[in-house]
Symmetry: C2
DNA sequence: GGCCTTCGTGTACAATTGACACCATGCGCA
DNA sequence: TGCGCATGGTGTCAATTGTACACGAAGGCC
């Protein structure tokens, strides 16, 4: 029995996130074609018949923004009829996390998540959903480190957590807990970032995290 | 600019779960058509151009199993090329939770989650993913109650948690914590379920849970 | 009435969370 | 060169939460 003729278009949309100090920013582009020509939108595109969804997301990012080698994670699939005026388009949304320094986008703008403009389609809904997911996920997984450079200070980690959770955390308690997880390797390197004492650099150790995970432990802030 | 011609089929698959004492069971059906004719599989079907994904899942359940009015939640979208030998089929998987008494399925069998047979396509992967999701979700949301009748004893709640988490919980601690959340209303009703003291019935109160959630509290067992 | 089974409850200790303040270090400037 | 300024880095105590653990109560059955 052959497949029926497809009648639904499948696309991917990418929420590309970047942490700029205490500000979480996402890359928006202006729609180059109708509908919503000129409106801000998430980078996205149709899935090709021979590529996986994740590959499609990676391709879209590379083509539309020039960004490569990012962490990708499926967020949710939005498929209400009517979300695209052209016809039935179902979209798989992917979260993509990039480390500083922020790649200069081929086009579009890094837009603060808390000052979003009018967006095409249901992209505002998608962004809200992404923010929620990231917030929850921070509590039991080390996604935060995917937004930091390979080597970072504890302050930067705290900045990341505060930006995503949207609230201030106590410095001493934060460090105590973070270090007690034993997933960070202190380096013999320091950075000067102003007229004050330099801060130690750390590195996140993936395999230590894996071991923790097997024992069922989780982050909780 | 018109839409390109669709080249990808979109389907939904349903993980219908039911709690049978300490056993979590899912409804599997034998594939009535090739490929994998006669092999056990999740109930599923193609999405129609005019229905939402969730509506498609509900329809598939109603038609293939006769089950209606269930809790539905999108699990994940599986879209690797090659997952269906007929061509490119991307499937949105939905978890569906039903309360006892177990509906008698129009076809298929309630199969224990820990004794799954060979399955068509990537349906084993999908079921593993579902089990994981349910386990995590139990920790911060009241999904467990969606597997129980409207009125239930504390023992039944504990059974549900133990079945899903796969480990025994201490009765006194479990009850203490559950009741401290103040989301259960004790009823002036008791059930006799054997030659022993009857147990009190409780009811889950959705709006009390909503209030808790706003304050940021979560279940953790 | 005695036995069996599950119901329902409290305490004590350990671990974790959360509040809170001060000295250290290095830069810049007078 | 020394003083001021800014951030780095650390510990203690109280409150809360988690965890281990045992026994009388209620009702059916024989």
């Amino acid at each position: 029995m052959p497949l029926p003729r497809p009648q639904i278009q499948l696309s991917v949309d990418c929420i590309l996130l970047f942490l700029d100090g205490h500000t979480l920013r996402t890359l928006l582009i202006r729609r180059p074609i109708p509908p919503h020509l000129g409106t801000w939108a998430l980078p996205g595109g149709f899935v090709r018949p021979d590529e996986s969804l994740e590959a499609a997301a990676a391709r879209v990012l590379a083509v539309e923004t020039g960004v490569r080698d990012v962490y990708l994670e499926q967020l949710y699939t939005f498929g209400d009829p009517g979300r695209d005026p052209r016809g039935r388009v179902v979209t798989a949304a992917y979260i993509a996390l990039v480390r500083p320094p922020a790649p200069e986008p081929r086009e579009g703008a890094w837009t603060p998540m808390d000052a979003l403009p009018d967006l095409a389609f249901d992209h505002l809904t998608i962004l809200d959903y992404a923010r929620q997911r990231l917030k929850y996920k921070l509590e039991y997984s080390p996604v935060g480190f995917r937004l930091l450079p390979e080597e970072f200070t504890l302050k930067r980690v705290q900045d990341a957590y505060e930006a995503i959770l949207g609230r201030a955390l106590d410095k001493r308690n934060f460090r105590k807990k973070l270090l007690s997880l034993k997933v960070l390797k202190p380096l013999a390197k320091f950075v000067r970032e102003g007229p004050h004492r330099p801060a130690r650099l750390y590195r996140f150790e993936e395999e230590k995290w894996e071991r923790l995970k097997e024992k069922g432990n989780v982050f909780v802030f």
